[in-house]
Symmetry: D2
Subunit: 271 residues, 4 copies
């Protein structure tokens, strides 16, 4: 199976880049299933129902999120109604929405997608390692799931790598989000799990993680200035990972980055 | 000028990779000046005088460090004696060693190298923005320095990008270290400063940031297990950035990643 | 019922103070049940089986702990064998020992004691609010438990107060530990739960939270000095809280601090 | 000299308690100089010029602050104009206002007051130990200052105790703020410096650090609820410390807590 993941969509620039690129990417790369992290799609903070619909229309089969999942109030009930929108599975049990789901591809295979949030340097949450393990054990590769994708939303490279190795051989792909910077360490781990510390954002990279760059610089310098953070304009990049799995095992055979448009060096799979 | 930077060297695997690759890289890429972050060269924790000497012998003109600078006690006096070994400039004023220096290239041009440590999700330090600004203002591009290289040792992508933009146009290159994962966002910022959020480590990538992978996973899972962290063996990657500057302005014209050996996708500049 | 709680015992000075004072305190204050936090009893870091035995001998009915529970390796199997020694209930499920227990008083009433660890500014753990709630709901006041005592081991005053109010009316007493400084906010909350943000330590207060004071000062000043932290000697204080409950409801009617010996102002209940 | 310090005034309840109690306290305790931390006086977040004026009118000679110093925008220029309002001295050099001052008592003696902010578990700042040391060295006891008072605004008990010991013998009093809970460890350190880890807040204690208690509890439980934090109403306590110094040395001879009104146990000096 060929699964495409795109990292945190940030603001209008990120949304437009996804809208412009995702349809052709699905086509050109023969994508069977596409997942997009949408936690910053609404001006950098959260996501609205309309924006979620637009991402689905652009070709996202599932939207994952993270710490910004609930920034917009109007998304709360939408989370309950729309099973293709996920929030971290290890949020409190009463939280609106759900953290994982099993979804059919257009040709009837099944993709298990889970979203977990990590803990180092982040808000408090229950154990993401155990949450992810429970999800993959309840619907393992070959028994229910043809492909398992984990979006791990986290800050620290050590925790992301540890979770990747912990799930190695049990998921098809474990890919990080949240730092908004793509890493160059995409690989297939020894057990057959595709891995990338961070997928990077879909947004304008002449910025501070997608936001207009002046304001964050001022905030780092001053205790009095509180300039508004706004999603940056300018040429945007879509950034993510294409994972190709062996249908016999559900494990990954290839993991290739996708970066198109904007300021970053472009790359796309030729397989 | 052509300046090569290699990120955090981790343990024996990282040291051997640098020893094997750096001489040929200097040659093939016509490197005028090479800088290596050595903070994890001694088994993952710190650096010793012997290891520093070996890195100089392999072709490092300057060694930078970070939070692990002083893990080995025998390095303390060596820091005072060896001006080519730097620790973060914004450590307390009484700290052994120094945080920046002006160094001649083999053909008599001058490279200003500074090491600063960032603050988000890290130990306390004085302001890295002001420390870096003071260093570049005291020896600006064109007046004393032909090239200015800043190794910013930090965790958070937001702080790294903010410092990059803050120094844009005032340094030739601002490159991150510490996360041990290379980022794919190398670029020349609008003002002419080469930038990369993290240069990645020189070490074995089938690991958790260069350390044997079982121990960190256990530590994330358990409050009782305290397995020893040891530098990972196995095929190692050298990871870093080549920056090419315009000698008339001291600003960057190209920034190209270097990743050779080991598990990561290989890349090297063809310019 | 009259329940005495003493905060974190730190090193030899703290142990000797408890040994000297606890028997007479039990006697003079007609204590029905005594609980002592022992997480720093062994030189400031952890607790050993011998030290636990000595604390039981001195009059502790139950010993609670915290983040230092497992600092000494020899305590691991002891935790499994000794039900009167508790570790945080919200540690991972596989953790040695247990986090709560129901214990008889000498006259046959029952005290439920639970130990939870908080999360703000501390290592990652699963939700302490839900862990504590589950414990009190499974054995509520009046149905199984005559008295419920919660030792909440935490750093932030906001999280401690929030947990106190969350459990108000459902526990007899919710008392904090870990900061090693007694607070002066002992009170009975509106719902009938005795509360104190931190019980303070049993140890030498001419120190930095019970450790020899020079070393911590140096560590705050320097990035190179790493002086050993050792438990401070000198005159020691026992610090804690006496809670008196109404046997009809299990709720608290009085909460009075105990501070005896050493440098702090002395106080003890006269009721 | 007799110097009274009152901790963080929180909201209307805190302001009214100070207004009601401070005049009589000055009188009854023969206070020569009164200092009040006002960082939460405006609804829990910051301070306004009018509120500062009211605190001066109630008897504050100097107002200190902390991380909330600039929450209200209208205070920025007032900080520049009013030398009796202090913000942390170790904020960036360009920050409005100043961090210390030398003030005359009504009978012509001089009190040096400084405000520093600590770093553990707090936002980034430059070194508070060196900032405080510089201030006391530039105007030492007996040479310019008859009394030196340091308000250290911080979270961690270890850092507060370390700073207290670091300044012991060089300041008349080092008292903590920010946790909003009074500690019971007031003492005169061996070198003659009065010390208290936290002075506690002036506000309503049936709350979570002065704020309406339901909202913080919900925030600890939920990732979706974001109830507004509002300063709590209800009976309020004034909380602080009276320090008595020897005019010959400037060092402290007594340190006695003040807690009046509201839910906490009342205490006041009888000396
Ligand atoms: Fe994001
Ligand atoms: Fe995020
Ligand atoms: Fe490193
Ligand atoms: Fe580092
Ligand atoms: Fe403790
Ligand atoms: Fe503790
Ligand atoms: Fe405050
Ligand atoms: Fe504060």
């Amino acid at each position: 199976m060929r699964v495409l993941f795109l990292g945190d969509v940030v603001g209008r620039a990120g949304r437009e880049a996804v809208h412009d690129r995702l349809p052709e990417l699905r086509e050109r790369l023969s994508v069977d299933f596409a997942i997009v992290n949408g936690e910053n799609a609404a001006g950098g903070f959260g996501i609205t129902p309309d924006i979620a619909e637009a991402l689905f229309d652009a070709g996202a089969d599932v939207i994952t999120t993270g710490n910004h999942a609930f920034d917009k109030r109007e998304i709360l009930t939408y989370f309950d109604a729309e099973p293709r929108l996920l929030r971290p599975a290890n949020f409190p049990p009463e939280t609106n929405g759900k953290g994982s789901g099993l979804y059919p591809t257009r040709d009837g295979r099944h993709v298990l997608v889970a979203n977990v949030i990590l803990r180092l340097f982040m808000d408090t949450s229950d154990c993401p390692f155990r949450a992810a393990e429970k999800i993959v054990e309840e619907c393992p590769l070959g028994y229910g799931a043809d492909f398992i994708f984990i979006d791990m939303h986290g800050e620290a490279t050590s925790e992301k790598l540890a979770l990747g190795h912990f799930l190695d051989g049990r998921a098809s792909a474990v890919v990080g989000t949240h730092t908004h910077v793509p890493t160059a360490d995409h690989m297939v781990l020894p057990g057959g799990t595709a891995y990338m510390t961070d997928a990077g954002m879909c947004g304008a990279y002449d910025s501070v993680i997608g936001m207009n760059k002046e304001a964050p610089v001022e905030r780092f310098l001053s205790k009095t200035a509180r300039p508004r953070l706004e999603a940056a304009d300018g040429p945007a990049t879509v950034s993510g990972l294409l994972v190709i799995s062996d249908d016999a095992t559900g494990l990954a055979t290839h993991a290739e980055p996708v970066r198109l448009g904007g300021l970053l060096s472009e790359t796309q799979p030729d397989c």
